[in-house]
């Protein structure tokens, strides 16, 4: 019995050593083996499996993936769910052929990716605006002008550039925000004495939100407020809950997100001005929250592909993509 065990043990040892080697190599080869979407032999890109990279929120939101597939009438072969922001890398590295992203993300240009046009106007508009609790605004009416001045200066190109400075060049969001505000003359170099406040500024946890949050912080500080920096709170509901419960006083929310997620409407709005009006009215009445001037850029969701893939396959819009996927399934 025991001697049998002894030989069994040596066998196990050998097997284990082999396994160890295998795992070592397997792990190493992980990047090399991309999920079957490499170009075919004749330079004609063949995507064997239509895998889609999405973050957790997008994969379940009513205006997210499930509805998108319904409207365009197609279905991805597989969905890889991952952290927000990782999708760009996943697409760039060839792990997936299609990924979800935000229209203003700096990495789109830098990674050689393209946005697919939302030709059926599925995605609602997402213009961000500072949302402030009314009590705070009543106490400090000047906040309306301080924070309201920022939005109109931000168009899509500007925002992509700012985002790129963080995500590509590795600058700190706060530094990017400071540079921009200084250039625009919204703040000055002098250090103000912080006599008012405190005001708690929040943001969600992704680059654009961090920059916008930093802008609020800097602008308020410049106007002599003592500011508690609570930016980087996580997802939408987390920031929203924090605002409604008074844990934070202000953060930048997107009109479309508020309309669908926070206010619980099912039907998205596709016009920026309309969305802003409706959202600010309802939020004031229901939640005592005030929406200040919204930014010019529309950071809606977008579907992205690698530029060369898209060009070779002739995909420009989401409808093109849907057609291509449906054909591949036949």
């Amino acid at each position: 019995m025991l001697s049998k065990k002894g030989s069994l043990f040596w066998l196990a040892l050998v097997v284990a050593a082999v396994m160890l080697l295998a795992v070592g190599c397997g792990g190493g080869s992980d990047t090399a083996e991309k999920s079957g979407d490499e170009s075919g032999g004749e330079g004609e890109p063949v995507i064997k499996e239509w895998v889609f990279a999405a973050d957790h929120e997008f994969s379940v939101r009513p205006d997210g993936l499930p509805e998108l597939e319904k409207v365009y009438g197609f279905e991805f072969d597989r969905v890889e769910v991952m952290d927000l922001g990782v999708t760009y890398g996943a697409l760039k590295d060839g792990l997936v052929p299609v990924a979800m992203g935000f229209a203003t993300d700096g990495r789109i240009g830098a990674f050689g990716l393209v946005n697919l046009e939302d030709d059926k106007h599925f995605f609602p508009v997402y213009n961000p605006a500072p949302v402030v609790r009314k009590e705070v605004l009543d106490k400090y009416p000047e906040i309306k002008d301080i924070l309201g001045a920022i939005g109109p200066k931000l168009d899509t190109e500007t925002m992509i550039e700012l985002n790129g400075k963080v995500d590509i060049d590795g600058m700190e969001p706060k530094e990017v925000a400071r540079q921009f505000l200084l250039e625009q003359g919204l703040i000055d170099e002098e250090k103000e004495e912080q006599t008012k406040g405190p005001v708690v500024v929040g943001s969600k946890e992704f680059t654009e939100q961090l920059i916008l949050g930093a802008m609020s912080v800097l602008a308020l500080e410049d106007a002599g407020f003592k500011v508690t920096d609570n930016t980087g709170l996580g997802g939408t509901e987390m920031a929203r809950n924090a605002l409604e419960s008074g844990e934070i006083d202000t953060y930048w929310e997107y009109t479309g997100t508020a309309w669908l997620v926070a206010l619980g409407h099912e039907k998205p709005i596709t016009d920026s001005e309309e969305a802003f009006q409706k959202v600010s009215e309802e939020d004031l009445a229901k939640n005592n929250l005030v929406w200040l001037s919204y930014a010019k850029f529309d950071n809606t969701y977008t579907l992205m592909m690698r530029k060369d893939d898209a060009e070779k396959l002739g995909i420009k819009t989401i409808s093109d993509l849907a057609r291509m996927i449906n054909e591949s399934k036949k």
């Binding site: 927000l84 700190e172 946890e205 680059t207």
Partner: protein, 207 residues
């Protein structure tokens, strides 16, 4: 070299987040020690409760930290305190268990002698039981602290701040330097806590 330039350009942030992480851990551990020791002491007086409590603590440990923190959000909102409560729940098991066993493993002769000499239960607890169980309790606190420093990184996800922010932002931005910075700081914090508590533990030992 990339890494060092990254670290060099962010000393203030690294410092601030490390402090934040430390405060998170200290707050959680302070509360966990009070709660854990009190619970651990109480259950030594009633055995059936002890088994139940220890079992519950053990179950708590099997809940993934991410899920535990997530479940606290509907109750506590997001932010520092959610992280603190989550970390408290995780550190309870080692502290409660070690307090319990530390006291239970005291030579019954010592307690009988104390009782026979006319010491009242309060004095016995404060002067005999707790000092004798202290090395074991300290070991539990050390285990809990090292563990909680690591879990604290995940607590950033629910807005508790701390070094996890480096890691989460690093993931989002695919930034190895950032993740590495977070990881190293957390490790250093854990090792430092371990060393300090080891020292305290040695001091607490009466032999």
């Amino acid at each position: 070299m990339d890494f060092w330039s990254f670290v060099n350009s962010r000393w203030d942030k690294i410092f601030a987040l490390t402090i934040e992480h430390g405060v998170l851990i200290l707050t959680a551990m302070a509360a966990a020690i009070v709660v854990g020791v009190v619970v651990g002491v109480l259950i030594t007086y009633y055995n059936p409760a002890a088994h139940a409590v220890l079992y519950i603590c053990q179950i708590l440990m099997t809940v993934p930290s991410l899920a535990m923190l997530g479940l606290l959000i509907p109750l506590l909102g997001i932010g520092f305190w959610t992280g603190v409560v989550g970390l408290i729940l995780y550190s309870l098991l080692p502290i409660v268990r070690n307090t319990y066993t530390g006291i239970r493993e005291i030579d019954p002769a010592i307690l009988e002698a104390a009782r026979g000499m006319g010491m009242n239960e309060r004095t016995i607890l404060l002067k005999i039981k707790l000092p004798l169980a202290l090395p074991v309790i300290m070991a539990g606190i050390r285990t809990a602290t090292v563990m909680v420093v690591g879990i604290g990184a995940i607590a950033s996800y629910v807005g508790a701040g701390g070094l996890g922010e480096f890691i989460f932002r690093g993931i989002s931005r695919y930034n190895k330097d950032m993740i590495l910075t977070g990881a190293i700081c957390v490790s250093v914090l854990a090792i430092a806590a371990d060393l300090i508590l080891k020292l305290v533990e040695k001091k607490a030992s009466f032999r």
